[in-house]
């Protein structure tokens, strides 16, 4: 918590250092330390074969190292596509992506796996697999095809399982776990990679409050420990509390980026999500007091709000 307080102070960085306002050419390296770039992309465009519109349209962003960045936006706005472009599993039709100052194309899969731990949105084990076996797969980028597991590898696996609270489940089969336990095991696999950056696609979807908070707390702790965290999420309120920076996507374009208080603005969100919202403040206690919280209104409240606006279509019988 103390760490997070310190971090929160840094979120009021001058706007000049913020994500999209200073696009860099990929390959350009910033001096290390605070403000160094993890991901950087310019003019990124991607269209799925046969699709009418681009899934990602001229996106230029910069994801700063040692920060937690959340990509938010409605369903189908291109969040997962953007993440996959940044991870090199999709090839952009235009634009370029760089990681750590090097174009993504110059990285081998092996090198990337040592640098970035990924928790994909969906994953299905077709063969029975224990939690320990799954987490140990995170050592592959360090072991390669031949080298046997050394003490350091086993330690990394054990430490990752302890940190994600799955150590007691080590010998359980993955398909016997609950959704929350499975997700923690996958996160443990990413930790076992011992990367400097983490990328997660909706890591808390379908998890209950306790498991969801557990994962966000862990991601925050990773960022406070100096890791870069990039996640896609639908939970605006937890993103507002735990992320240093938000990227808001609408139909493949970045429409806002910056600290949560700057992005979570009611008129913007109403337009992007097509639903009336009110922005409140986290009541506290704790480090999150005052963080912006998005409260979706109901349809009736929207109708009421529209009646107050002159010229708005009224559904009233009067």
């Amino acid at each position: 918590m103390r760490m997070r307080n310190a971090k929160r102070g840094m979120r009021n960085r001058p706007a000049g250092a913020a994500g999209t306002s200073t696009p860099l050419r990929s390959g350009e390296r910033r001096p290390g330390g605070e403000g160094a770039t993890a991901w950087c992309c310019t003019g990124l465009s991607f269209r799925y074969p046969g699709a009418a519109a681009s899934a990602i349209d001229e996106v230029s962003i910069e994801v700063l190292a040692r920060e937690c960045t959340a990509i938010i936006g409605p369903n189908g706005s291109g969040k997962s596509t953007l993440l996959r472009l940044l991870l090199g599993t999709l090839e952009p039709q235009a634009g370029s992506v760089g990681f750590s100052g090097r174009p993504l194309g110059e990285w081998s899969r092996h090198e990337l796996a040592r640098a970035i731990g990924v928790v994909p949105q969906r994953e299905e084990e077709v063969f029975p697999l224990t939690v320990r076996e799954l987490v140990a797969m995170g050592r592959y980028p360090h072991l390669g095809r031949w080298r046997g597991e050394a003490a350091a590898d086993r330690d990394a696996v054990s430490a990752a399982m302890r940190r994600c609270d799955v150590a007691p489940l080590a010998e359980r089969l993955m398909d016997t776990l609950s959704g929350g336990e499975r997700q923690r095991a996958r996160l443990a696999r990413a930790l076992a990679q011992q990367p400097g950056a983490f990328a997660l696609d909706e890591p808390t979807t379908s998890l209950d409050v306790r498991h969801e908070m557990g994962i966000f707390e862990l991601l925050r702790a990773l960022a406070d420990g100096g890791a870069t965290v990039l996640l896609v999420t639908h939970n605006l309120n937890l993103a507002a509390r735990f992320a240093d920076r938000l990227l808001l996507l609408e139909r493949g374009r970045i429409v806002a980026s910056g600290p949560p208080a700057a992005v979570l603005e009611s008129q913007l969100l109403e337009r992007v999500y097509g639903w009336p919202v009110r922005i409140g403040q986290h009541p506290g206690p704790g480090a999150d007091a005052g963080a912006p919280q998005v409260v979706p209104l109901t349809n009736r409240e929207r109708a009421g709000a529209e009646r107050l606006q002159p010229g708005a279509n009224s559904t009233s019988r009067h």
Binding site: R109, P120, E124, L129, E133, Y140, W146
Partner: protein
């Protein structure tokens, strides 16, 4: 599974394979007692018995063992690549494609000429078959859909069977009788020469696939996850598809189409010891060898003096097993 933990089960499976070999060379029209077998293998014993064992039963058993191992490793590899526990060279139509290649070169070049070319032609047929099956499955929707993939395999297999029958109808009567050989599989023609050729093709490819054990573990979680964990997808998949097809092709070139070994054996290993390919692949090779040596011993002796094609035995065991697996997955 760690290396130390997997050593004991592998040793056990090696002993099982050796026991299957001993049993396989002992049974038949002339039953050989264990003591006599030891004498013969040591270089002594009754000359007639020694000849039967050394020139007939031993090469046949060794060939059955190699084929069983190759088919089991091929099946385990296809299962990992396609993320489908029901994938197997016979079910996928790969063995059928290999048979078409082998039959074609045998008819064109004449039997017993250019024997080393038969596995190569079979490989071309097998590679064509897997490309065709993946293409059919892709045009019907998702390649990884179990039902679509199996259907594509069955359709391709039926097509290849028709090709073989057609080719053999227009061949001479002697070749026509070998249709049974190509379509049901048999190791009855095994000699040391063919066995050595099979070993030459199959053993290096098995070693290659063994070297892909870790990437195959990761591929079983899906392409994206494997890539995120550092697997170079194209290279790994190309090597694994080519290797698995080559193993099936080498087996078919030697003994025709023997089905279901690649299904039954890897599943038995997974049920007993889990699915780590570093263990699964060598264990499948050993158990596959034992399985087919025993199946061939049964094929020789069950209706003696008539021989049953060994593919009939493996199908009688494999088909109920396949249905059981299908029901278990659906549940």
């Amino acid at each position: 599974m760690s290396r130390t933990r997997s050593a004991a089960p592998l040793l056990l499976l090696a002993l099982v394979a050796l026991a299957a070999l001993a049993l396989s060379v002992s049974v038949g029209a002339v039953a050989v007692r264990p003591a006599e077998l030891v004498r013969v293998l040591a270089g002594g014993g009754d000359p007639a018995t020694a000849a039967i064992i050394r020139e007939l039963r031993l090469p046949r058993a060794v060939q059955a063992g190699l084929i069983g191992g190759a088919l089991a490793v091929s099946g385990a590899t296809f299962q990992a690549l396609l993320r489908n526990p029901l994938a197997e060279p016979y079910v996928l139509g790969v063995s059928g494609g290999a048979a078409v290649g082998a039959v074609a070169v045998t008819l064109l070049a004449g039997p017993a000429r250019l024997p080393w070319l038969v596995p190569v032609a079979a490989f071309a047929g097998a590679a064509g078959a897997i490309l065709l099956v993946l293409r059919i499955a892709a045009s019907a929707g998702r390649v990884m859909d179990t039902r679509v993939l199996l259907l594509a395999g069955v359709v391709a297999g039926a097509f290849f069977n028709a090709c073989i029958l057609l080719a053999l109808v227009f061949a001479d009567a002697e070749s026509f009788r070998s249709a049974i050989f190509w379509m049901m599989g048999s190791v009855s023609g095994a000699g040391w020469g063919g066995t050595a050729l099979l070993a030459l093709y199959a053993l290096p490819v098995m070693a290659l696939i063994l070297s892909l054990a870790r990437p195959l573990n990761l591929l079983a979680l899906g392409d994206d996850t494997a890539a995120y964990l550092g697997v170079s997808l194209q290279r790994t998949k190309l090597l694994a598809y080519a290797g698995a097809s080559m193993l099936a092709a080498a087996a078919v070139a030697a003994a025709g189409v023997i089905g279901f070994v690649g299904l039954v054996v890897p599943h038995a290993i997974r049920l007993l010891w889990g699915s780590d390919h570093q263990f699964l692949l060598p264990a499948s090779a050993l158990l596959g060898a034992a399985f087919l040596m025993l199946a061939d011993a049964l094929a020789r002796t069950a209706a003696a003096p008539t021989e049953i094609p060994v593919g009939v035995i493996t199908a009688f065991i494999g088909v109920p097993f396949f249905v059981w697996l299908l029901r278990r997955r659906a549940a």
